[in-house]
């Protein structure tokens, strides 16, 4: 399939005359995903795991078949290792509460990187506060990367948990998670990989990575909002207490006590987001139909073009690694002297959607010595024309502010 053909699958791109460059926040949805949800409600909707009637059994089958699909997609050893959640944030909270708080004590250390999204940071502050464990950070070098030395300095014999984002949602840096996992295991720690920004763009193989936990959100990979995945090694998940209590996660309930269902139901209390699961299944089908090689091919060409075009603008600061092979599809930048919110508003007036702000990464912003950035994040349906429109709008924004920036400099 050519890129032009793919774009036709996205109704919102056809319906709105915009350049959508906020895929790191959420991607647009192809018609195949929208249709799958529609079909589910038109033909198969009932509460799964509940009814003895055939409609409910159909709903159950569709729900559980998607679990198989996801297990295959990320090469999990077993379907029971796939737990549905609301999003990556909820998945990490499950690990923090049901593993972190239960297993850590004062002498232990948690290690995360300075580029973590708040979702892989604030839960670990909570674990540290409750257990008395220490929360340590791996910092980035001047190329916006984690050096091997930094990894080996921070992960110690006392480290019990390492949380690492596979790809930074601000810098686009692809972290060397293979190295981190290997080293953490050598030190006796378990590793949680936040794959939210990587799985839309690259093949994930949890067995090859040997990650203990891996989380992602569906909506950043073509699926609807409100569906996420927690992958965990079976032996770890089995040892963990349930996170939420309620219906469907139980075995026997007595007046004062309850025994819990086996995996995966133990972690799926209450009626689940079935349409989200169905949509995620359709999203995976779509990604597999295109193939990660093609996704990479389309994106690499456009992102490289964007890097080159943006670096030609002398009024721009970019926050990306010079090593292209370690950079994914996110480009953070600022017009020097102009606040990113003003830039984003002006870009919006030219139909260009970028994110502006701290991107849920305040400690990283503080480390970089800035308040916020503009962020353009690409997906396979973005084209060189999108980049051209971004660049043209940036030139217009700069023109509007140019006169006043010099006043500021003269302060």
């Amino acid at each position: 399939m050519t890129q032009e053909e793919l774009i036709k699958d996205f109704p919102i791109i056809q319906n709105r005359q915009i350049t959508y460059l906020d895929n790191g926040a959420t991607t647009q949805k192809p018609i195949q995903v929208l249709n799958a949800i529609n079909e589910y409600y038109k033909k198969h909707n009932a509460n799964p795991h509940r009814g003895a009637y055939s409609l409910s059994i159909e709903a159950t089958e569709r729900y559980e078949n998607t679990r198989d699909k996801i297990a295959n997609f990320i090469n999990a050893k077993s379907r029971e290792e796939i737990i549905f959640s609301k999003n990556a944030t909820e998945s990490i909270n499950m690990i923090a509460y049901s593993y972190g708080i239960e297993n850590l004590s004062e002498k232990d250390e948690i290690v995360i990187s300075i580029m973590e999204h708040h979702s892989n940071l604030v839960p670990w502050q909570k674990v540290a506060k409750v257990t008395g464990a220490k929360l340590n950070y791996m910092y980035i070098n001047d190329q916006f990367e984690l050096s091997e030395e930094e990894i080996e300095n921070k992960i110690t014999d006392n480290t019990k948990i390492v949380g690492i984002t596979h790809v930074s949602n601000v810098l686009g840096t692809i972290n060397n998670v293979e190295k981190i996992i290997k080293y953490a295991h050598k030190k006796g720690a378990i590793v949680i990989v936040d794959a939210s920004q990587s799985i839309p763009h690259m093949k994930i193989d949890v067995q090859k990575l040997d990650s203990d936990f891996l989380v992602f959100s569906g909506h950043k990979m073509l699926a609807p909002l409100g569906i996420g995945v927690l992958y965990g090694k079976k032996e770890l998940l089995n040892k963990m207490q349930p996170f939420l209590m309620g219906g469907d996660m139980i075995e026997y309930v007595y007046e004062q006590n309850t025994t819990f269902a086996p995996l995966p139901n133990k972690f799926e209390a209450g009626t689940q987001n079935i349409e989200g699961v169905i949509g995620l299944g359709a999203a995976i089908d779509y990604i597999e139909k295109i193939g990660y090689e093609n996704i990479k091919k389309y994106e690499d060409e456009v992102v490289l073009y964007a890097r080159n075009k943006l670096s030609e603008l002398e009024f721009i600061n970019m926050y990306i690694t010079p090593n292209k092979e370690k950079h994914s599809s996110v480009i953070s930048f600022n017009i020097r002297g102009v606040h990113p919110h003003d830039v984003a508003s002006i870009l919006d007036s030219y139909g260009v959607c970028v994110r502006s702000g701290n991107h849920c990464a305040q400690p990283l912003m503080r480390f970089l010595g800035i308040d916020s950035t503009c962020r353009a994040s690409f997906y396979f349906y973005n084209t060189k024309e999108d980049v051209d429109r971004l660049v043209e709008a940036l030139k217009k924004a700069y023109e509007m502010f140019k006169k006043y920036i010099s006043i500021k400099k003269g302060e």
Binding site: H341, D342, S345, I346, G351, S356, G357, D371, F401, I407
Partner: protein
């Protein structure tokens, strides 16, 4: 798409980039921090009273052009007014931004601050324009 030159106009740009109101006050009666955690806009507003008259006001801080200019222009508008007059103007400004008033007579009292009227068409920026005014409301509550 909307033309934003009427929002990013000369007056707002000048105030945002190089405000004479950006300084410290000696002997301020009230000092209040205002911030929008989501975007990092942050201002510290200082106010000096003489009886019930706002004798002087100043601010420090950082943020987008709209939040900084709105703070500076608010100070120009309210300096010399009584606290009661100022409260009414603050209320009118907030109503203008939230599109809850179009009363021309009331809007006139906003003086230069009427320059922010078109921010009411930019929902994402409403909180930037209102930051200083809400911060001042917090000071009024403490009086």
């Amino acid at each position: 798409m909307e033309d934003l030159t009427d929002v990013y106009n000369e007056l707002i740009m000048e105030h945002s980039m190089n405000s004479y109101n950006k300084k410290n006050l000696e002997n301020a009666d009230f000092c209040e921090l205002g911030h929008n955690p989501n975007c990092g806009d942050e201002i510290t507003l200082e106010i000096k009273l003489n009886g019930d008259i706002i004798e002087d006001m100043a601010f420090n801080g950082h943020g987008c052009a709209i939040s900084q200019a709105s703070t500076s222009i608010m100070i120009d508008t309210l300096k010399g007014k009584t606290v009661d007059e100022a409260k009414k103007i603050v209320k009118t400004f907030i109503e203008m931004i939230k599109r809850e008033t179009t009363d021309e007579e009331e809007l006139k009292k906003l003086e230069d601050a009427i320059a922010f009227k078109n921010v009411s068409n930019m929902p994402a920026r409403v909180k930037c324009a209102l930051l200083a005014w809400h911060t001042l409301e917090n000071i009024f509550e403490k009086m």
